[in-house]
């Protein structure tokens, strides 16, 4: 089990992390999700021992490792650009972690090569051992980086934007494969991503970070369906935001009362978030008007873009693609079936 306590870290005047607490369970697949500058990579590097917190401490299985450098933490780290050693063959890259051990613990050269071959088999790159990294595709390089990290038999695998540099199809395959590998080897894995879809698809739990603070920790379902803050709601998944006023526990958009319950919010200005799929068209013309300005297919639904008022507030809604697509310029009416209301955030 890995636990972080009150971690803070600044780079000059920039506070990268502020008082972060986090516990990672054994065998868990955890995503650190956030926009750039949210501190997610810094957090990963602190767990690895590649960066050190200004305040707070890191524990592995209860043992304080805050001051322990990366070489002694026995973690596997996969870098964003893979950081393969260009002048070494793939086999030598994979065997590197074993070949730099102290003489007493170092396996024989033949054993290292055999182990490296096994790992290449595991990442489905058998036969490419004699190539150089530059002769491999991005996805293959990624897998070499993984094999290299796994060679030292880490309990904890850390991945920094593991799929960032790959094209969509390769990315999808690798994701699935990584998930399998994680389970097969009984690893605890933490990966950093800015791609919410990736986090929701792959992770057991998602940690959403913004400006150095954890906004929410939860399963993908919790984070998507019950975002705890306006930031999480807007960052995870597609989301429409309407400026509303709250009066007596009801939300009102311009002069139209919305059928959305609001608790825990004082009267005044607020923000109402709803997902594009959390709407129904109303047959009788009641509800919010939508002036259709764009329609495209998104899998099994139409993604309809339009404005909901004269001031041009844009909203996206999903409609069943079994129905004919709405005409451009036509007027629809819809009501919101599920929404969340957040207090308007103060300017930062």
């Amino acid at each position: 089990m890995i636990s972080l306590h009150h971690i803070s870290k600044s780079f000059g005047a920039f506070a990268a992390l502020h008082n972060v607490d986090l516990t990672v369970r054994d065998g868990e697949f955890l995503a650190l999700l956030g926009p750039s500058g949210s501190g997610k990579t810094t957090l990963l590097r602190i767990i690895a021992g590649l960066a050190f917190p200004d305040e707070g401490y890191v524990r592995f299985n209860g043992e304080d490792v805050t001051e322990l450098p990366v070489a002694e933490r026995k973690v596997g780290f996969v870098f964003q650009q893979y950081a393969l050693f260009k002048h070494m063959t793939v086999l030598d890259n994979v065997g590197f972690g074993l070949s730099v051990r102290s003489r007493a613990q170092r396996p024989s050269r033949a054993k290292i090569r055999a182990r490296a071959r096994e790992l290449l088999d595991l990442v489905q790159l058998d036969g490419l051992g004699d190539r150089y990294p530059a002769q491999l595709s991005g996805g293959q390089q990624q897998r070499v980086a993984l094999a290299r990290a796994l060679a030292v038999e880490p309990q904890l695998l850390l991945l920094d934007e593991p799929f960032g540099a790959l094209d969509a199809k390769v990315r999808k395959e690798l994701r699935r494969w990584l998930r399998q590998l994680h389970e097969q080897m009984g690893l605890t894995s933490i990966f950093v991503t800015h791609d919410q879809e990736e986090a929701l698809e792959l992770a057991d739990r998602v940690v959403v970070l913004d400006r150095g603070v954890i906004e929410q920790i939860g399963t993908p379902e919790e984070v998507y369906m019950a975002p705890r803050s306006g930031f999480v709601s807007g960052f995870v998944g597609d989301c429409n935001s309407l400026p509303v006023t709250v009066r007596g526990g009801r939300a009102q958009f311009e002069d139209q009362a919305l059928d959305v319950a609001v608790d825990r919010l004082r009267d005044g200005n607020a923000r109402l978030d709803f997902r594009p799929h959390d709407v129904v068209l109303s047959e009788n013309g009641h509800g919010l008007p939508l002036h259709v300005s764009g329609v495209y297919r998104r899998g099994g639904s139409w993604r309809v873009e339009g404005t909901v008022n004269s001031s041009g507030q844009i909203v996206e809604i999903d409609l069943d693609a079994d129905q004919p697509a709405p005409q451009l310029g036509s007027q629809l009416a819809f009501s919101i079936t599920r929404a969340r209301v957040f207090a308007v955030e103060r300017a930062h």
């Binding site: 780290f77 950081a83 590197f96 051990r101």
Partner: protein, 278 residues
């Protein structure tokens, strides 16, 4: 782009190329040819004699000694400085970068005078050194010191941009795999920078062997004792011994040519390996 230039551009182009060639011929090739022509003007026997004469031998030996000390020193220094600048963030980094360039911007004569001021008989440490029987000025140590000062930017300047571009990821990856700092340097950093390092060493060596100004100030021009090759050339020249002067000079010119050839082939190889790394 060039296809759309008007017709007379061909003439302009030829004129420019011709101009450049004439310039290079007049200022570079002609002097080089003149050096060898003058050196060999009295035949190979005289040429050879000028090179094996004891003072010449001692000058060549001293030059090699100075290069053999100052180049490795500057390799170590250059590696340390480039490593520190490229891989760490610290206060005063830009000051250090500027200081490394200092020997390029000050006159070598000043570089020499600094050591006279420090270690000369009238200098700060002079009396103490004389009391303890240590000779620095007008002796080999000062020549090495002056050469080290003048040549120290070469390796560092070559490595800093290279190491900055490569970043820290490779080293961090090696450390994460359990490698010690020294092993990481040996097995990851050094292979990554080997061509740039070799290139810097070549330039540093060429300058170390050819340095005149700074060395001239501190050497004392003691024949057979503190004369390097460039100083020896000057002495012979001042004695109107032109053939011998040019014979020794031709060795230096040869060194320059060998350096140039090596540098060009390295650039080719360096550029090539650089591209394939992407």
């Amino acid at each position: 782009m060039s296809a759309r230039l008007p017709n007379h551009s061909l003439a302009v182009r030829r004129l420019l190329i011709l101009g450049a060639l004439v310039f290079i011929g007049f200022f570079l090739v002609l002097p080089l040819v003149a050096v060898f022509a003058e050196a060999l003007s009295k035949g190979f026997a005289t040429y050879g004699a000028a090179l094996v004469e004891p003072d010449a031998i001692s000058a060549i030996k001293l030059t090699l000694l100075v290069a053999a000390i100052s180049v490795p020193l500057n390799v170590v220094f250059g590696l340390c400085a480039a490593w520190a600048i490229a891989k760490f963030d610290f206060r005063g980094k830009s000051v250090l970068v500027t200081l490394i360039d200092l020997p390029f911007s000050i006159s070598p004569v000043v570089a020499g005078l600094v050591y006279v001021l420090l270690f000369g008989a009238q200098g700060w440490a002079g009396p103490w050194l004389i009391d303890h029987g240590v000779r620095i000025i007008f002796a080999v140590p000062s020549i090495v010191l002056a050469t080290v000062l003048v040549t120290f930017p070469f390796v560092a300047r070559e490595l800093i941009p290279l190491m900055q571009e490569q970043g820290r990821n490779d080293e961090e990856a090696a450390l994460a795999l359990g490698a010690s700092g020294f092993r990481t340097f040996l097995r990851v950093t050094l292979p990554n920078i080997r061509w740039g390092l070799l290139y810097g060493v070549l330039l540093c060596n060429a300058r170390a062997m050819g340095e005149f100004g700074a060395v001239s100030v501190v050497s004392g021009h003691l024949r057979g004792l503190t004369n390097t090759m460039p100083l020896h050339v000057e002495i012979l020249y001042n004695e109107y011994n032109f053939v011998a002067a040019f014979a020794v000079a031709s060795l230096l010119a040869l060194l320059a040519l060998v350096t140039l050839v090596l540098k060009t082939s390295l650039e080719w190889k360096f550029g090539y390996s650089h591209r394939s790394a992407r």
